[in-house]
């Protein structure tokens, strides 16, 4: 077991005298193995997610200063291969508020620990639909958008654009397969159908011969409106663009992508959040950073409004109609009372601009258009939140 605890905010909390209430937050980072990818152009930052939580913490502390509320954040990093349960037990013995950045299996195992009973665990990384349905837990809230929310956002875009002739290339990694399945579900949900689907199982180095391979690989598709790429690891997808047999748009994991957050989001005051993040960490704010920021801010917002650091009080407030988080996405963010998912608009982006923001115009819902994205109440089998 190797645990590294890092005080992230000691200097900030020290300056806050007279705090009448303190909320301690842990960030449990469960490192996951990443298979090699064809290109190393975009290395993942070491502190992905953690940096977002840090900005959220500073936002909370600044607000708390005026109310006698203080916040701390500590990182617990579990190396790949080490046991996340022991780290979770340690964290839960110290606080009831834990952000979890890890795979779905670890998340549910932690949620089922006796020590997690009555805690608030915030999922900032796992996009699995099951966590919002059959495998949901009453003590887990999700600030990261589900994969279903992201593929629903793209499906709305296809409908709006009348791109109804769609084909897909999917990788073989479990995340790629999950994405392809989520996309299939979304297409069906919005009355679309997938034409051909091919699996990308090449092991050639595409930096050298993409131009030769991809045209032939995509020639079989014949004509279509758009090509969906399921490549959640960023392995081969980048070599598909501009190399297809037909000149058609690429969407999905590459090209036009649906994301929880992207550096090109600048409307609705988002520039301020982007600036705060970039000034502090010298890099762009990634989706996981946003999910972690939203998790810490959601806790902070609940503390601000309830004047309490009691987990049960905060949880019931966060799931109530009173709760709203200003998340720089143009409308208030709230939690779904049936599965703990944070409702949020999903930006559709390319690397240089925001193209659209789902829910798109015309997709209506009796409660809120935001519920056209992801698992709506009848689509979710979650019953844990019912009581």
């Amino acid at each position: 077991m190797r645990l590294i605890y890092a005080m992230l905010a000691g200097w900030l909390s020290a300056s806050t005298a007279m705090a009448e209430l303190t909320l301690d937050i842990r960030y449990l980072l469960i490192e996951q193995p990443r298979p090699p990818t064809l290109s190393n152009l975009d290395p993942l930052p070491e502190s992905l997610g953690v940096d977002g939580a840090q900005v959220g913490l500073q936002d909370n502390i600044t607000t708390g200063r005026f109310l006698g509320h203080n916040y701390t954040l500590e990182l617990a990093r579990v190396a790949d291969g080490d046991d996340p349960i022991a780290a979770a037990q340690q964290a839960l013995s110290e606080t009831a508020f834990v952000l979890i950045d890890g795979p779905a299996e670890a998340l549910t195992a932690i949620a089922d620990l006796p020590q997690a009973n009555g805690a608030i665990l915030l999922n900032v990384a796992a996009p699995d639909a099951a966590l919002r349905s059959d495998d949901c837990r009453a003590n887990v809230l999700h600030t990261v958008s589900s994969m279903a929310m992201r593929t629903d956002a793209l499906a709305q875009f296809f409908v709006t654009k009348r791109w109804d002739d769609l084909v897909m290339i999917a990788g073989t990694h479990a995340d790629d397969v999950a994405y392809a399945n989520a996309m299939q579900r979304s297409l069906q949900k919005f009355g679309l159908e997938l034409g051909a689907q091919k699996t990308w199982a090449f092991d050639a180095d595409m930096r050298r011969n993409a131009a030769q391979e991809v045209p032939l690989f995509t020639q079989e598709f014949g004509d279509y409106d758009a090509l969906i790429v399921a490549d959640e690891l960023g392995d081969f997808g980048r070599y598909i663009l501009y190399n297809t047999w037909q000149a058609r748009p690429i969407v999905g994991s590459e090209g036009l992508a649906a994301a929880t957050w992207a550096p090109v989001v600048e409307q609705w005051g988002a520039v301020q959040l982007q600036n705060r993040f970039t000034d502090e960490f010298g890099r762009d704010m990634a989706p996981k950073d946003y999910a972690a920021w939203a998790a810490v801010r959601a806790l902070g917002e609940a503390v601000t409004r309830t004047n309490s650091a009691d987990a049960a009080t905060l949880r019931s407030y966060m799931l109530s109609d009173q709760f709203e988080l200003a998340g720089f996405k143009g409308r208030p963010l709230t939690f779904r009372a049936w599965n703990g998912q944070l409702r949020q608009p999903i930006p559709l982006v390319h690397p240089r601009a925001l193209v659209a923001q789902a829910p798109l115009e015309g997709f209506l819902h009796q409660r809120t258009e935001l519920d056209t994205l992801g698992l709506d109440e009848p689509e979710s089998n979650c019953t844990e939140f019912a009581q």
Partner: protein, 323 residues
């Protein structure tokens, strides 16, 4: 001979009509609208990303928050020339000129600070720590209280202008955008963009008197987002810009009830009145225009194209130099 007569006639009658000045956030310009003809008569270049604008009490100077230039520019409105720049702190977004006509209270959006600048000595007098993303600025008619609202902290911060210290912090709904004193300084109104409300405070004890909700038919409540607002003569009514719902609400300031909704351009943001407050000019960010509203009939009467993303609006009378 004929030419001379024309010139004489022109000088005899008022050559200049009253004006509405509009800052164009994404064009780095200011558009000047003639209130008589309702046309843009001049466009002046400014620093980067001009947002808040306000005139000195005698209208001899225009102050411009050039947000991305990190400065407040001072323009001669007769020539459009930038006379000098004031230190403003980083990313000035909005400001308010103290009744002493000398001190500017500036919200520094990126820095969680309110900066007080003396426009005569051109020096920073004070910097006050406030919440995250300060934006709305107001000062009481007697000059004793200044207000900063912070968008992410969701508070109105009350500043004692004699000490430049905070003396109260009051929570409001999400993303407070704009603040105004009303009824001779006895009330403070604060709009919350994401919360979708206006909170009315009693200034005497900072207690909440009322909360105003908005409801536009056919628009989801999430998209009804109050931002800028201004009061009619005698503070009987407030006209409230509702952002992406593309409507302006008319609120009865006695009953706090909404009486009307007026359709304007897209993402309506701020506004100002003409001299007798019979006409209201709203800036519509997304559609890049200004809607002119007839206050008596509460009807939009004209749309005027300005620059990209018009943000602030400020009235300038013809008779500005006491003449």
């Amino acid at each position: 001979m004929i030419r001379l007569m024309v010139a004489l006639t022109l000088t005899a009658s008022p050559v200049f009509a009253d004006e509405i000045w509009v800052s164009n956030e994404k064009d780095d310009t200011i558009s000047v609208i003639d209130v008589e003809t309702l046309e843009v008569i001049k466009t002046y270049p400014t620093g980067e990303r001009p947002r808040g604008i306000t005139f000195s009490k005698d209208y001899s100077r225009l102050y411009i928050c050039a947000s991305d230039s990190d400065t407040v520019q001072v323009m001669d409105p007769n020539t459009g020339e930038i006379l000098f720049e004031l230190p403003s702190g980083e990313d000035p977004e909005q400001f308010v000129l103290h009744p002493d006509n000398r001190h500017l209270y500036i919200a520094n959006e990126d820095d969680a600070i309110t900066t007080v600048v003396d426009t005569e000595t051109r020096k920073v007098v004070a910097q006050i720590d406030v919440g995250i993303e300060p934006e709305g600025m107001a000062v009481s008619p007697d000059g004793k209280i200044a207000i900063t609202t912070s968008e992410t902290t969701n508070m109105a911060h009350w500043i004692d202008t004699s000490t430049q210290q905070l003396f109260a912090n009051t929570l409001v709904d999400s993303r407070p955008r704009h603040a105004e004193f009303a009824k001779e300084g006895s009330e403070l109104w604060v709009s919350s963009e994401i919360g979708g409300t206006i909170t009315v405070f009693s200034v005497a004890d900072q207690s909440e008197i009322a909360k105003i909700d908005f409801e536009v038919t056919g628009v989801h409540p999430d998209r009804v987002q109050p931002v800028g607002f201004e009061f009619t003569t005698g503070d009987t009514h407030a006209f409230v810009a509702l952002g992406p719902s593309n409507h302006v609400a008319v609120v009865n300031a006695e009953t706090y009830e909404v009486e009307d909704y007026i359709l304007v351009g897209r993402r309506v943001w701020h506004m100002d009145f003409n001299a007798d407050r019979s006409q209201l000019f709203t800036t519509n960010g997304v559609s890049g225009d200004v809607t002119v509203i007839d206050v008596a009939s509460r009807k939009p009467v004209k749309t005027i194209k300005v620059g990209r993303f018009p943000w602030g609006a400020a009235f300038r009378p013809t008779d500005q130099s006491g003449g």
